[in-house]
């Protein structure tokens, strides 16, 4: 019977929400199929040519009936829209208190890194009943991170960060598929999520070579690549300080304000001239091509870490 399986495993909180709407839509579809197909079959038999049925006074339209089957479906549509939209809104909002995972897609593999520093390729180990939030980008073409058992999917787009989260409810191994066509080996850009009991996950996290955390790596990159030469509190150069920056508003030279989120930090590293902080000159060189996607993510993790510290005075 396993070969004729009709539904994928339900292994996340989202999967229950999506399936509920899916079943509702299936029921509504069956309802419409009945109200359309039954009359067609009935009329086809009753009014087949030569049958003795009464054909007198046929009607060629009725404003009331037409309005009925126009307005009825409109209201039904609005209800279905609202249901789908509420669930979607929840799926798109990254919840607090989640385990962070950084994902970089490339032709044709998934590179993942946990906040503790542990790296994986095409595999993702996570603890059950814990929210996992991924920050994703691509170093070449568009990919899409799809876990059918969790009913989640999000395109992984070069040049920007997208997010995807899930809360697994069942231990086990589940498929990861790349869902956006990405070239020759697209169908081999697959992997698995391993959902583990929390204790087993902790053991797995500590196994193997000891690693430095993403924040520690980011701090190292910050110093090795010379960022600290300008952006450290004791620097000689007139550069914005980064403590207390994350998620706070930044005034720009053009008079507008921008929130210092991941995308802003990324753009400031790669295209420093794009959004210049008020009171500063654009003297920073671009790091495009000099930092890997992983290094940029590590840097941002470090900037987030110091970004949550109180602002330092210059």
């Amino acid at each position: 019977m396993d070969r004729f399986r009709l539904f994928p495993p339900q292994a996340s909180t989202t999967s229950h929400e999506v399936d509920a709407l899916f079943f509702a839509l299936t029921l509504i579809s069956l309802f419409f199929m009945v109200v359309i197909f039954l009359p067609i079959i009935f009329f086809s038999v009753k009014y087949r040519r030569g049958s003795p049925a009464d054909r007198s006074n046929p009607r060629s339209g009725s404003f009331l009936i037409e309005s009925g089957w126009t307005i009825g479906p409109i209201f039904l549509s609005l209800g279905l829209f609202a249901w789908g939209a509420v669930a979607y809104f929840r799926m798109e909002r990254r919840p607090a208190n989640a385990i962070d995972v950084q994902v970089v897609g490339r032709q044709w593999m998934w590179k993942l890194q946990h906040a503790e520093g542990k790296r994986e390729i095409n595999e993702l180990h996570v603890p059950v009943n814990t929210t996992v939030a991924m920050t994703m980008t691509s170093q070449d073409v568009i990919h899409s991170f799809f876990v059918p058992a969790f009913r989640v999917k999000q395109d992984v787009v070069p040049g920007k960060y997208t997010g995807e989260w899930f809360k697994p409810t069942r231990t086990g191994e589940y498929h990861i598929f790349c869902a956006q066509y990405c070239g020759t080996q697209h169908s081999r850009m697959i992997g698995r999520v391993v959902v583990m009991e929390p204790a087993a996950y902790e053991r797995w996290l500590k196994s193997g070579e000891p690693t430095e955390s993403i924040v520690q790596t980011g701090e190292r990159v910050f110093h090795d690549r010379g960022c600290s030469g300008c952006h450290a509190p004791n620097s000689q150069f007139h550069a914005p300080l980064l403590q207390g920056l994350y998620r706070n508003p930044v005034p720009l030279v053009n008079g507008t304000m921008v929130t210092a989120d991941d995308q802003y930090l990324r753009d400031s590293i790669l295209q420093p001239g794009k959004q210049i902080t008020a009171g500063y000159q654009n003297i920073m060189p671009s790091f495009a091509g000099h930092l890997s996607e992983e290094e940029i993510m590590q840097l941002i993790a470090y900037l987030k870490y110091i970004g949550n510290q109180p602002p330092a005075s210059q």
């Binding site: 359309i36 009359p39 009329f43 086809s44 829209f81 059918p148 920007k160 869902a179 020759t184």
Partner: protein, 562 residues
């Protein structure tokens, strides 16, 4: 409108009787026999001959694209590759998509049945611009030749959607020549759309007011509107791809400072309305078939006609439903979701009205009617599964899976191709002057219906299980549904080959049809079959609404026995 029915019935009746008096007559001096030789075809300005030129041309593309589909289905019988490499597989689905969409589905009903029937339906001698009509065929052939050139030199592996930055920076295949082929063919679409619009405005017979137009004309008008307004955006988008690919100008690739999601907005701004180019003409054909074979005027004429226009307009506002997981804003997603639900309403209105038309009819189950009923069944399933895709949370799961593939094949193949086949059978006696073998026709219609469902229904299940589209290899647990789908595809293939064979046979050997074998009321039936070069000996005058059928009077339709 109702007040004029009796008036029109008498006029139509006399017209019908006029042509029934001469059953079985083959018009000796017709558009086929009046000129001879290759030159007379290649330089023809006759809309009927141009329709046949298109039929022949799109058939070639249909066959190539079908072979590509067959190779894919054979490959997918096993989870691991057996027949082709991944590179070849990716080229196969690209060529299948590009040829089917731009070189078969979009031109299918408009350029073949539309060209042939539209001027006759409105009582005109030809389209408004006969020379442009021929030019549009030459442009189409030039576009097709570029696409075939690209295919013969190794093909393209981007998918028919040409998503960036893969298509502009990473693909090593003949993207520019393929895009150029589609670009060129687009101008043929624009010219045809413009020609049909002007024809409908300026060439209608005396008395043929807008609300007396057959619904096929309304649907072609709505289609032409989309063709003229949307296709230029596709041309611009494809040109931008070539500019980025050839000169490295940063438009879509973030490494050059571009935005890959911008491409998706531009592409779907054309390609979603294009979906309606691919279904509206089919809906028009179905309105003609349902009325003729149930011997009833259409139920809710104005609603069915207005629904076509509503679809054409709303269809421009829903492109973002292809992008719910693309990183488009959540709020944009919500707007596109609600509009997508609303665009389903006019489609529903059509289905309800077709169903109501059957009531109190006198239903003849001839081949075109079997295709029409099959259309309603498959289009309904295709439309309802569209609701799953409009619902944001469910779309996230099924986006880019076989669920989407199944959905749009139910619309494009179950809908448009069924309508095309139904229309081709219905107007075949007019086109060729001869009847196709009826039994073979019915058999082919039923085989197509069964084969289609077996091919594509399992793909809904596959999609919800999580099978992504465009996968050359797949996990073994999906195999059973792929095997079912491939089995269905071979049945479907038989359903398509049969008409090809008996139409060719019937062209010379079919029984002579006479002017009006279906006892239909449209103006195109009030002239001999095949029609004379300029369609009508006298310009017809219209005195009432279309579809003045009466189900109370039993009529014999003239069908070939086998």
């Amino acid at each position: 409108m109702n007040g004029t029915i009796s008036d029109s019935e008498s006029s139509m009746k006399s017209a019908t009787e006029l042509v029934v008096e001469r059953p079985g007559e083959f018009a000796r001096l017709n558009y086929l026999s009046v000129h001879h030789g290759v030159r007379s075809w290649l330089l023809t300005k006759d809309h009927k001959r141009i329709g046949l030129l298109y039929l022949f041309t799109i058939l070639i593309f249909f066959l190539i694209a079908s072979v590509a589909a067959a190779l894919m289905r054979i490959e997918l019988v096993t989870p691991q590759p057996k027949l082709v490499t991944s590179e070849t597989y990716n080229k196969l689905f690209t060529i299948h998509g590009v040829l089917m969409v731009w070189f078969f589905l979009i031109p299918s009903i408009p350029t073949v049945l539309g060209n042939f029937i539209l001027p006759m339906m409105i009582g005109a001698r030809d389209v408004a611009f006969p020379k442009l009509n021929l030019l549009s065929w030459y442009i189409f052939v030039a576009g097709g030749a570029l696409a075939l050139w690209s295919l013969l030199h190794g093909g393209v592996d981007t998918g028919w959607t040409f998503y960036t930055p893969y298509s502009t920076t990473y693909a090593n295949t003949h993207v520019i020549s393929m895009a150029a082929g589609v670009f060129v063919a687009g101008f043929s679409t624009i010219i045809t759309g413009m020609n049909f619009m002007v024809t409908t405005h300026k060439m209608r017979a005396p008395g043929l007011t807008w609300f007396r137009l057959p619904l096929f004309v309304w649907s072609l008008y709505a289609t032409s509107l989309i063709m003229v307004l949307a296709t230029p955006v596709l041309a611009i988008t494809l040109a931008l791809i070539s500019v980025e690919r050839f000169w490295g100008v940063g438009i879509f690739d973030p490494k050059l400072g571009g935005d890959p999601v911008l491409f998706q907005h531009l592409f779907w701004f054309y390609s979603h309305p294009a979906v309606y180019i691919m279904i509206l003409p089919g809906m028009g054909v179905i309105s003609e078939l349902i009325t003729c074979f149930s011997r009833k005027p259409i139920y809710g004429y104005a609603w069915v006609g207005s629904a076509s226009m509503a679809i054409a307009v709303l269809g421009f506002l829903v492109w973002g439903h292809h992008m719910f997981v693309s990183s488009q804003s959540v709020y944009a997603g919500m707007v596109f979701s609600i509009l997508s639900f609303l665009v389903a309403v006019p489609s529903g209105i059509k289905v309800f009205n077709w169903t109501a038309t059957l009531r109190k009819g006198s239903i003849h189950f001839a081949t075109p009617m079997l295709y029409a009923l099959g259309f309603i069944g498959l289009f309904t399933i295709g439309g309802l599964t569209g609701l799953f895709l409009a619902a944001l949370a469910v779309d996230v799961h099924v986006h880019d899976t076989y669920f989407v593939i199944a959905h749009f094949h139910y619309i494009m193949v179950g809908g448009m191709v069924m309508a095309f086949m139904g229309g081709l059978h219905y107007w075949w006696p007019k086109i060729s002057g001869r009847l196709y073998p009826e039994l073979a026709g019915k058999l082919a219609a039923m085989i197509t219906f069964i084969g289609f469902n077996l091919t594509f229904f399992p793909q809904f299940i596959l999609g919800y299980l999580g099978q992504p589209r465009r996968y050359h290899v797949y996990p073994p647990e999906f195999q059973i549904y792929h095997v079912l789908s491939t089995a269905g595809a071979s049945i479907l293939g038989v359903g398509y080959l049969m008409p090809l064979i008996y139409f060719i046979w019937a062209w010379k050997h079919g029984r002579v049809a006479g002017p009006n074998p279906w006892r239909a009321t449209g103006l195109e039936w009030q002239t001999p079959s095949p029609p004379p070069e300029h369609n009508f000996e006298q310009t017809p005058v219209v005195r009432g609404p279309p579809y003045s059928y009466s189900a109370e009077k039993d009529v014999d339709l003239d069908v070939a026995s086998i």
